[in-house]
Subunit: 599 residues, 2 copies
C-alpha cells in the first residue's frame, strides 16, 4: 500500500493559510460572501431572540494577554495557536470543529454529534468487553435522599460541597430536599444489601451509562471539568478480596485500551496514593495521561477496590459458604469495586492530537473516516462531465462503505475544493481523498492524511486496491498518532534522583518519577515546595509565568523502574526523613489559564 | 419442525401450583429451606441497616380489598391474580420477575438488568432506523435556566407544575434557580437558532437518549408514570411543512414497529385531537395501545409536528432559497418536529403478555431467550453420568449461542427441576429446554413455551434440527404473542353509532370508536358524561366499583372506517349540535386502583 512512499511530486491542492502560502484552491468568493452573510445574520438573530445564549463563547477568551492570531488564518479556521494560547485554541478547536457548544448554564456543555459519536464508539466497545465478564447494564435513579447520601462519612465528605439539591417541584417545596447523584455508591448499595442473599448471588456486577452532577466552583473546562458529565459507573460485589482485585485490574486494562486502541492516547497504569485515592474506598487504580502542550498530567479513568468499607456501612453480607450443617459462623461482608470512565476521554484525545488547523480525530472514533472531494472541475468542465465524476465518487463511497469504512462524498455546491479541504481539516476527518479527471483517467485516488500536513501526508492509491488500502491506511494513521503521542509522553516522563531537578523539570512541562515514601504529609510538602506564585519568574514566557498549583502525585506506576532499595533509598523530598517505598509519578494537573465563562 | 404437533404424551415436569396440581418436580426441601432462611436474613438486614429502603414494596399493596391469594401459590411465585388484583399482580410480576425494584425516592424506580436489556434492544433497533434517515445522536445538558424554559408560554404551561428546581449546590444557594429538563425543546432550540444559518443546514435532525424529570403528584406507576424516566427525544428542523410532515410519519411508523416487531404489542396509529396534542405544538401523531386486563387505552409514543411555533419563539430562520441576487424576501421560519418514546414501552409489554406465573417476555427483547435445564437426575445417577449430561447441555448452549440465540445452561445446584421451571417462568424466559437421559438417548430436547402453559406448549425438537428449529420457534412465539394481543385489542375496539351504548361498553373494558366533531368543548362533555362516581353501581364487582375518570379521546385513527358523511353525520355526544368530522377513538386511560407507595 502506497502512503508516504509515493507522496512525491503530487499536486498540493491544500490551502494552508496558517503557513502563509497562497492557497491553490481559493475559497469561492460566492461561498465566502454567503458564509459571512449567514454568520452576521445568525449573530443578529441570536442577539435579538436569545439574549446571551450561545454568546458566552464570544466572551470566553481567555488569557489576560491578547489572543495570538495566526497570520492569514481563514475566516472559518482556528485563529490562535496551540503553542501560544492553548485554552483559546482548545475552545476554538472544539466549537469550530463541531464537537461541542457552550451552554447558558455555566459548567454545562452541549455534546454535538461528532463528539457523541466518539462516546457511542467507546460505549459499544466497552459494553462488549464487560458483558463478556458477566457485567449487566441497568439504570438507577438520578436522585438520592439526604440520609442515604450521607451514610458513608468519608465518602460524602469527598462530594458534599458539590452536591446539587432539588428543593421544589413547580411552586411546591419538597418535604425533604433531594440530591442529584454525584456518583451512585450510596444510591445502589442499599439495594445490593437487599438483593445479595447468598454467595450464589456473587459476583454481582452492574454497570450504568448515565450522567452525574458535581457542582464544582473551579473554572469549568469542556470535557475535563464540567458540572454535569456523561460516564459509565460499574459497581460490583464479590465474595473474596481476590475476586474483587482481579476485576479491578481487568477493568483498568479495558480503560487503558479505550485510550490506546480507540483514542490513540498513551497512558500509564498505576495505583493512586492514599492521599489521592477514592473517598471511602480501599485502593484506587488509574490510567494517567499527559497533555504535551501544557505539560500537565491528567487522570484518565479509575477502577476502585472499595474493600469492605461500604458493605459494612450498608450491611451487605452473605453466609459463609464454608459453613456446614448447623455450624455458627459470622456472616461475611462482601468485597466491592466501583469503576468509572467519563467523556473526559474526549477532551484528552482532542488536546493531544489536534493542531492549528483544527481537530485531528483518530480514525476509529471518527464519525466520518474518509471524505471524497471532487477536484479539477473548472469552467471548461461540461455538466455531463461533472455528473460523471460525481457518479464515480459516489461509487467509490459506496465501495468503501460496503467494507465498513465510514465514507462521505463531499459534493457540496458553491464551495471550492480548497474551502472543503479547510473545512474537513477543521472537523478532523482522518483521510481526504481527492478525485478529479486526472485520478479518474489514471485509475487512482489522491489521499491526504489529516495527521500529516502537506505533501508528506499525500499518496496515490490505485482504485483496484482501494478497499484494502484504505482500511490499512486508517490503521496506519491510528498507529502513527499513538506512536507520536507515546514518544512525547516518554520524553516528558523524567526519572529523578535529585530534588534540585524537581521544580525546574516540572516547569519544563515534565511529569516526574521520584522515589517516594507514599505518605500524605510528604505529598502535601511536595505540593507546597513546587507551587509557583504569581510574582515569581516574571521574565519567563507568558504561559510559564502564570501561577501554578504544586505537583500532585499522579500514580504509583505498576511498571516500576529498578533502583529503590528498601530501608536504604531515601524519599526524594528533602524535608522528609522517611525511606522511599516506590517510584511515584508526580506532575501538575490543573490547567494554567482556564477558559473563563460567566459563572 | 416439531412444536405443537408433537406435544402429545410428553411428561409434564412443570410445577403449576396456581392451578392447584400436585407438582411433579417438587421444590427440593433443602432449597426451599435455604431460600426461606435467606429471605428472612435479607429482610432483617434491610430492616437494620437501611431503614425503609426497599421496603416500600411491602407496604405498597394496593386496593382497599384484601389481596386475592392464588391458592397453593409457591413461596417464590406471584400470589395474587391478574384478573382480581391487577395492580398488586403488576407490582409482583415486575419485582419477582427481576425487572424492577422500588426506590426510596417516591416515583423513582430501579431498572434492573432484565428490563434495561429490553431498553437497550429498543435503542439499538431504533438507532439503526433513525441513522438511516440521517438523524444523529447528541447530548444536551440536564439543566435549563428559568427564562429559557419559560420562553414558549403554551409549552411551559403544560409542564410548569411538574418542574423540579435545583436551588443549592452544597450549602451555597444558587444565584438563580435552575430547572431539570421536563423535555428539551427549550433547552435545544436557542442553539438551533445559532446553528441553522442557511437552508443547506436543513434538515437538522438530532436525537438524544436521556432521562427527563416530571414531578407528578398523581400516584406513580412503574414504567407508566414515573417522576424520572428514560426516553429518546428527537428534535428536527426542516425547510418545508412537507419535509417535516413526512418525517413525523416515518418516525411514528418506527414507533409502531418497536411495539409490533420487538414487544409483540399491537397499536393503533392516529392523530391526537386539539385537546390532547402536545403543548405548544402544531399537531401530534400517536401510537395507542390497549391493556386488556383493565380495559384502558395507553399512549405508546408520540411524534409531533411543532409547526413554526417554536421557530418563531426562538427565531430559527433561513434565507429563502428562492431568493435570486439582491432580491429581498423575508426569512423563512423553519418547520420543526419532536418525537419521543420512553420506557413506558416496557410497562405496556409486561401488562399485556404476563400471566399469573409471572413475566412473559417476547423473545426478541428477552435477555435470556432459551434456558436448558437438566432433568431426570436422580439418586441413582452417578456423578460421572451427571457430568456427562451437563457437558451435553453446555454443548447445546454453545451451539445455540453460535447461531445468535441467547441461551443459558441452568446448572444451579441444590434446586430441583420443578423449582427451576417456576423460577424461569417467573422471569419470563420464552423457551425452556429440558434435557435428561431420555432426551440424550433419543437425540432430542423437550421444549416448553412460556407463552402456552402446560402440555399444549410442549414439543420435542430433534437435536439435528436444533439450530434452525429454535430460532423458528422463537419467531412463532413472537407471532403468537402478537396475534393473541391483537385479537384482544380488536375485540375490545367497538365502533358505535348510539350514545346509549357508550358508557356500558366503556364499563365493559372497551375503547370506543365514535363519530366526533373533534372540538375540545365536546370532549370535555364526553369526559363528564362518562365519569363514574364512587357511590354508583355499588352492586357491581370490586374493580368496576371504583370511581373512574371519564373517557378521553385517544386518537383519530389513520385507518378510518366508512360511514361519516360530511355535513350529515352527527357527533355522537347527545349534547353536541355539531356534525362529526372523523371517527375518533375514546377510552379510559388512568388505572383504576393505583399502586400506593409512600409519597
Amino acid at each position: 500500500m502506497s502512503d508516504q512512499a509515493e507522496a512525491q511530486g503530487l499536486p498540493d491542492r491544500t490551502q494552508n493559510p496558517a503557513e502563509g502560502k497562497a492557497p491553490e484552491g481559493e475559497i469561492s468568493k460566492n461561498a465566502a460572501k454567503k458564509a459571512a452573510k449567514a454568520a452576521k445574520l445568525a449573530a443578529g438573530k441570536a442577539e435579538k431572540a436569545n439574549k446571551g445564549i450561545g454568546k458566552s463563547e464570544a466572551k470566553m477568551p481567555t488569557s489576560k494577554a491578547p489572543k495570538k492570531k495566526i497570520e492569514g488564518a481563514a475566516l472559518i479556521g482556528i485563529d490562535v495557536s496551540k503553542e501560544e494560547d492553548f485554552p483559546s485554541w482548545y475552545q476554538q478547536v472544539l466549537t469550530k470543529g463541531e464537537m461541542l457548544d457552550y451552554y447558558d448554564v455555566s459548567g454545562c456543555f452541549i455534546l454535538k454529534p461528532a463528539s457523541y459519536f466518539v462516546w457511542e464508539t467507546i460505549q459499544n466497545w466497552f459494553n462488549d468487553k464487560i458483558k463478556k465478564i458477566g457485567v449487566r447494564n441497568c439504570s438507577f435513579p438520578l436522585f438520592v435522599s439526604e440520609d442515604v447520601l450521607q451514610r458513608e462519612k468519608d465518602h460524602i465528605e469527598g462530594f458534599a460541597a458539590e452536591v446539587a439539591w432539588v428543593t421544589h417541584a413547580g411552586n411546591t417545596p419538597l418535604e425533604k430536599k433531594i440530591a442529584i447523584r454525584p456518583t451512585s455508591e450510596t444510591v445502589m448499595y442499599p439495594y445490593y444489601s437487599k438483593w445479595i442473599r447468598s454467595h450464589r448471588d456473587l459476583p454481582l456486577r452492574l454497570n450504568q451509562w448515565n450522567s452525574v452532577v458535581r457542582w464544582e466552583f473551579k473554572h469549568p473546562q469542556p470535557f475535563l471539568r464540567t458540572r454535569e458529565f456523561l460516564w459509565q459507573e460499574g459497581h460490583t460485589a464479590h465474595l473474596t478480596e481476590e475476586g474483587a482485585a482481579e476485576e479491578v485490574l481487568q477493568i483498568l486494562d479495558h480503560y487503558a485500551h479505550v485510550y490506546e486502541d480507540l483514542l490513540a492516547v498513551p497512558v500509564v497504569r498505576g495505583k493512586k496514593t492514599e492521599k489521592e485515592k477514592f473517598a471511602g474506598g480501599y485502593y484506587t487504580t488509574t490510567v494517567e495521561g499527559y497533555i504535551p502542550a501544557t505539560g500537565r498530567g491528567i487522570q484518565g479513568g479509575t477502577s476502585h477496590c472499595l474493600g469492605q468499607n461500604f458493605s459494612k456501612m450498608f450491611n451487605i453480607t452473605v453466609e459463609d459458604p464454608a459453613v456446614r450443617g448447623d455450624e455458627k459462623k459470622p456472616p461475611l461482608y462482601v468485597w466491592q469495586n466501583s469503576w468509572g470512565l467519563s467523556t473526559r476521554t474526549i477532551g484528552v484525545m482532542v488536546m493531544i492530537h489536534s493542531d492549528n488547523k483544527g481537530l485531528v480525530l483518530p480514525p476509529r472514533v471518527a464519525e466520518v473516516q474518509v471524505a471524497i472531494v471532487p477536484v479539477g472541475v473548472t469552467k471548461a468542465t461540461t455538466e455531463e462531465e461533472r455528473q460523471a465524476l460525481y457518479k464515480e465518487i459516489d461509487e467509490l463511497t459506496a465501495k468503501l462503505t460496503a467494507v465498513g469504512v465510514r465514507t462521505e462524498s463531499d459534493l457540496r455546491e458553491g464551495y471550492s475544493p480548497g474551502w472543503k479541504f479547510n473545512d474537513l481539516e477543521l472537523r478532523g476527518v482522518p483521510l481526504r481523498l481527492e478525485f478529479g479527471p486526472g485520478e479518474s483517467k489514471g485509475g487512482f485516488v489522491t489521499a491526504a492524511r489529516r495527521d500529516i500536513p502537506g505533501k508528506d501526508g499525500k499518496s496515490q492509491i490505485e482504485l483496484k486496491n482501494l478497499t484494502t488500502a484504505i482500511p490499512e491506511l486508517l490503521d496506519t494513521i491510528h498507529n502513527d498518532l499513538f506512536r507520536r503521542a507515546d514518544a512525547q509522553f516518554r520524553e516528558h516522563r523524567k526519572q529523578l534522583t535529585q530534588w534540585d531537578d524537581f521544580v525546574p523539570l516540572l516547569n519544563e512541562k515534565n511529569v516526574l518519577l521520584i522515589p517516594h515514601c507514599l505518605t500524605e504529609e510528604c505529598e502535601d510538602q511536595i505540593k507546597d515546595l513546587s507551587a509557583r506564585k504569581a510574582e515569581e519568574n516574571s521574565d519567563v514566557p507568558q504561559d510559564a509565568r502564570a501561577p501554578s498549583m504544586g505537583a500532585k502525585s499522579l500514580c504509583i506506576p505498576f511498571d516500576q523502574p529498578e533502583g529503590i532499595e528498601a530501608g536504604v533509598t531515601k524519599c526524594l523530598n528533602p524535608h522528609c526523613e522517611r525511606f522511599a517505598e516506590k517510584w511515584c509519578m508526580f506532575g501538575r494537573t490543573s490547567h494554567p489559564v482556564p477558559i473563563r465563562i460567566k459563572i
